[in-house]
């Protein structure tokens, strides 16, 4: 039993036990906290499986934004679940047992965990992504290279989904008006919290910019940077109150930033088409072509992703926080 197996098994066991407890808990605040814990354990598992970019994103998104949203909704609705009647358990158990059995049966054909000659690893595209990308693009973080260059069209689609979700939340929860002063959301009387937050917030924002530009060389990139940037403003909103936070980031500005990133991304694709290449063919951006043009294209794309994701996450938080509880 290698140390890897021990750590892997322990983390997976913790995750399973947490999931079981979440399923049984009727108190929803505790369930939200345990969901944050499961996201954190998942982030550790991602690091163990060498997916550092994904771990970064999961830690920022799953532990940060998800928990804030869940707690915000729990503040607006009731926080205790009713007892599930017995007759609902039986079909659920039947479906899960059947599906689980089918999955385990199908898993017999899966390659062994960690094998180096599985079909995934032997495919020629692995060679392209890992080694040819160094000559063509020259970005050490191959995840960023694949995300922003080889598979930029997929990323555009994902960005459109994020944009659509932000629009849907804004449509559902109303326009972002200036919130009136509400005691239960601002924590102004906690002096220590105020000082520490005002100390930390500029560093959070600078760290988001660092993550954005450093995504070429280490874990990072547009998605993580956008989420961390939004986290800075969520912190400000939680501590200083929604009205002050909306004076720092006016809702009109947010409303124009949300489509700006998406427009930048699509605009880049149109520009490359006008310059003679295909959609999102970065080689046309500079007359020399080659890695420098790819770097420029990747930079623009990452900035666009960062802008839209940050604006969407912040406006989602403002939308939830500005909603007045009705009962």
């Amino acid at each position: 039993m290698t140390t890897f197996t021990v750590i892997n098994f322990t983390l997976l066991a913790i995750l399973t036990v947490t999931a079981l407890v979440i399923a049984r808990l009727r108190a929803l605040y505790e369930a939200a906290m345990l969901t944050a814990l499961s996201s954190l354990v998942t982030a550790s598992l991602f690091v163990l499986m060498d997916a550092v970019d994904v771990a970064f994103t999961e830690a920022a998104v799953g532990v940060g934004i998800s928990t804030v949203l869940l707690l915000g909704v729990l503040a607006l609705t009731r926080s205790r679940e009713a007892v599930t009647p017995r007759r609902r358990h039986l079909p659920a158990i039947a479906v899960t047992a059947l599906t689980g059995g089918l999955l385990v049966y199908a898993a017999q054909d899966l390659p062994a965990f960690g094998s180096a000659d599985s079909p995934v690893q032997r495919h020629p595209v692995t060679e392209v992504y890992l080694h040819q990308s160094q000559e063509e693009i020259g970005v050490p973080n191959t995840v960023t290279a694949v995300l922003a260059s080889y598979r930029a069209l997929d990323t555009l689609g994902e960005l459109v989904v994020v944009f659509a979700a932000g629009t849907a939340v804004l449509l559902l929860l109303g326009p972002l008006t200036h919130g009136k002063r509400r005691q239960n959301l601002d924590l102004m009387e906690y002096k220590v919290l105020r000082v520490v937050s005002s100390l930390l917030m500029p560093f959070v924002l600078v760290f988001a910019l660092y993550v954005l530009f450093h995504g070429d060389f280490g874990p990072g990139g547009g998605f993580q940077a956008g989420v961390i940037f939004a986290t800075g403003f969520v912190l400000h909103g939680l501590v200083f109150g929604l009205d002050k936070s909306q004076r720092v980031v006016p809702p009109a500005a947010l409303g124009s930033l949300v489509p700006l990133g998406l427009g930048l991304f699509v605009g880049l694709g149109v520009v490359t088409m006008l310059l003679g290449g295909s959609f999102l063919d970065y080689g046309t951006l500079l007359p020399a072509g080659g890695p420098a043009a790819q770097h420029l294209g990747i930079l623009i794309v990452e900035v666009a992703i960062g802008i839209t994701v940050a604006a969407v996450m912040t406006s989602i938080f403002f939308a939830f926080a500005g909603r007045r509880p009705t009962r």
Partner: protein, 104 residues
């Protein structure tokens, strides 16, 4: 350097010990305030010692600087979180445990 390795191992083990003691305290202490006192150890002493132990093992100065920044961040946010928890509980009216009370 063998001395650095031994020192780093000692620091890591001490950090792990503090974290385990924080966890044991979380389970065994009788009252909310004493429990968050126990978990405050996890963030400051436990994580700090582990980061110091890792600092002795770094090969590049960039990794060292990053570890120092993480330690600084934990030093600032850990006690703040504990302070806020205690403040919120006090404001909510959670009673302080006295000797002889049942475990809450």
């Amino acid at each position: 350097m063998i001395l650095l390795e031994i020192l780093s191992a000692v620091l890591l083990a001490a950090g792990a010990l503090f974290i385990v003691s924080g966890a044991v305290g979380l389970l065994r202490f009788p009252d909310f305030y004493t429990r968050i006192h126990a978990t405050g150890i996890t963030d400051s002493a436990g994580a700090g010692l582990i980061l110091l132990g890792l600092l002795l093992r770094t090969t590049t100065w960039e990794a060292g600087v990053r570890l120092l920044i993480i330690m600084l961040f934990l030093v600032v946010t850990g006690p703040t979180a504990t302070h806020l928890l205690a403040h919120a509980a006090r404001r909510d009216g959670v009673p302080v445990w006295r000797k002889g009370d049942p475990r809450r």
